[in-house]
Amino acid sequence: MKHLLSAGDLSRDQTLAILDSATQMHDVQRREVKKLPALRGRTVVNLFFEDSTRTRSSFEIAGKWLSADVINVSAKGSSVSKGESLRDTVLTVASMGVDGLVIRHHASGAPAQVAQWVDAAVVNAGDGTHEHPTQALLDAYTMRQRLGDLDGARVAIVGDLTHSRVVRSNLLLLNTLGAKVTLVAPPTLMPSGIAEWSAAEGFATSYDLDEVIGEVDALMMLRVQRERMSGGYFPTPREYTVGYGLTRDRLRRLGPDAVICHPGPMNRGLEISAEAADEARSAILDQVSAGVAIRMSVLYHLLGGSGDE
């Protein structure tokens, strides 16, 4: 594994190795000395073309706890408007002797393009509305903590699927781990070509959350941006909540051992009620806590060895 561009790049064995190592990394997080020497002498650059304080700091801490030198480079704003091509920007950074390049970009596919231009290992830290593989890894990690092996686990992902990079990575990764996924959204927020896609990958779709909610082991609620209203994707937040929110009423119909996840940031009261976010079945804080361990594990697996399989 040279890069982590898509959750689909990972085999089942590779996924499990990353998740297992993350367990050990998670232990380190609870120690007084939160430092491992594994990446000593290696340089990781967080190259962020889009702000994301949470993801950036999570990668930064992860790199530092593995003793890598971590540098943050903000390349916010369109490089088109600056007159510099993406390739130029990236090569400028990479030419400084970088071993790992963690890339966040507002445009889908940018990390995959970058991986063709540089020698460094590229980690996709979220690209446009495409993928966010480390988020999917930490979601799987969190669900495994609560549910054990995910083979056969029933997972529903609910919300703005069209614009979510989380859903694409989760679909691929959960598929690899053998989970049974159902995507739930109003038709306007389903990704295009979903019928062909779901048939090819063997996941289910539904427009009706109530039909699904009693049958799941894990429920992943995705953030719905209020701006989507202006795109006419749904009429009002109130209507969205009634149709697709994890309300108090729906919470009662969710299984007693089911897990509630949310990749954050939450719109309390829109896609998730305050009760749901804070109750015992909610693993939302666990997800945040797993973020650093997963990113440590990913950086270690990409940069810790000789690069041979």
Partner: protein
């Protein structure tokens, strides 16, 4: 110069019987069996197909404004190497070709280059802004005698403005070439055919229906106004259906398809390579199949390249931010040969219709798209129909390298191009 004499020996005229052509004084003097006069230069065309010089309804030459990507001279060279004798230069330069002066300037640049007839396309609206009509009549009355008007790159989406433009150009037999893209259904971000692949890749979708609805609207406007409308770069099966219906109604609609939409499909964008980013986007197989059928049965009148050179640094962005467009002039005939003529979907005679006769007629270009017969202007291309050519982007007359066929093997090669009796491309060299 035109006093030079050539004898083209043994070319299959329009793919038919082999004949010799005597060229002198810019015209074809004789077709048949010819004893070459001593002073004539003989071009051995044994096994080659002679076609009327190709005409491209849709070329972006980038001059003025982006001479780093292409100039009229380099674009003309690419055209000559591709078998073209005339190209229509789209108006989206900087400044925009929206005045008579701008149109004449393009015409003069073309004449100076001297490799193909460069005929300017005029903008429909001032600065391509889609707000008010450009000086269509003055462009029509200019030395360039503009007949084709287009805001290409943008759709004239205001129905009232489109109606007025269609009506107005009737006075001088003009035609509106429409870039059919409903900007609300496919906005500026839209960059990948909307479907499973755009869904998986998370790329903003460009749905086929965004083209279909504009084509449907425009043919109804053409019926209402009794004007000519031309559909640029048809890319969808839905558009084909509408155009087929409209033609059956007797509506004055014509249409073009690009070489890339005849051959390349959506799945090529899966690696996010911006070389394959084009507007309208590459479509799935089922659309490509319909486009080929429509070209073969005449529903689509012409092949036009939409040759769109871009500097490297305008393509080396994230896919969604990279420039739209791909090269086409040098490979157009090869692509048509590979996907239409060789598989038997089209004869060479039909190919000549689609790549020369029809586009010349649509653009009202005199002297092009004429029969290869005695007394006609000597505009012709000689094509080796069986050559197998592996395309190398570096090997191009264009200043740009955004060649989507790089690394592919195509069948056919242009051997020579003559513009009014003078070879513009011969022996693998552009004849400056």
């Amino acid at each position: 110069m035109t006093s030079e004499m050539y004898v083209v020996r043994g070319a299959k005229v329009l793919g038919g019987k082999a004949a010799d052509l005597l060229i002198e004084g810019g015209v074809i003097r004789e077709v048949g069996t010819i004893d070459a006069p001593k002073k004539a230069r003989v071009v051995d065309a044994d096994g080659l197909v002679a076609l009327p010089g190709l005409v491209d309804l849709h070329t972006h030459l980038r001059e003025p404004g982006r001479e780093d990507a292409e100039t009229v001279a380099t674009g003309s060279a690419a055209a000559a190497a591709g078998g073209f004798t005339a190209v229509l230069a789209m108006a989206n330069t900087n400044p925009v070709t929206d005045t008579a002066e701008a149109a004449d300037h393009i015409l003069d640049l073309g004449r100076r280059a001297g490799l193909v007839d460069v005929q300017p396309v005029g903008a429909v609206t001032k600065s391509l802004a889609g707000q008010e009509l450009a000086e269509l009549g003055l462009m029509a009355r200019s030395r360039a005698q503009v007949r084709v008007f287009s805001d290409d790159g943008r759709c004239v989406h205001d129905a009232r403005l489109m109606r007025r433009a269609l009506e107005y150009v009737k006075a001088f037999d003009g035609v509106i070439s429409q870039h059919s893209q409903d900007p609300r259904l496919a906005d500026g971000q839209a960059c990948c055919h909307e479907g499973e692949i755009s869904g998986r890749l998370g790329l903003p979708g460009w749905p086929a229906v965004a083209e279909d609805v504009i084509v449907a609207r425009d043919v109804m406007l053409a019926r209402h106004t009794g004007s000519r409308v031309h559909v640029a770069h048809v890319s969808t099966a839905g558009s084909v259906e509408v155009i087929r219906w409209a033609k059956a109604q007797g509506i004055a609609v014509t249409a073009e398809v690009t070489p890339h939409h005849l051959m390349l499909t959506t799945d090529l964008v899966e690696g996010y390579d911006p070389t394959f980013k084009v507007n309208p986007p590459l479509r799935p197989d089922e659309h490509v199949e319909e486009l080929r059928k429509a070209l073969a049965d005449g529903t689509i009148d012409a092949v036009a390249t939409d040759h769109a050179p871009h500097a490297r640094h305008d393509k080396e962005h994230a896919f969604a931010e990279a420039a739209f467009g791909m090269l086409g002039l040098e490979q157009a005939l090869q692509v048509v040969n590979t996907v239409m003529v060789q598989p038997g979907l089209m004869s060479w005679e039909q190919a000549a219709q689609a790549m020369s006769v029809n586009p010349a007629r649509i653009a009202r270009l005199e002297g092009h798209g004429r029969p290869l017969a005695a007394g006609e202007p000597a505009n012709l291309a000689l094509v080796d129909p069986a050559a197998s050519v592996t395309i190398d982007a570096a090997d191009s007359q264009s200043l740009s390298r955004n060649n989507p066929w790089h690394g592919r093997t195509l069948t056919g090669a242009v051997h020579a191009t003559f513009l009014r009796g003078r070879p513009t491309y011969l022996d693998g060299e552009v004849q400056q």
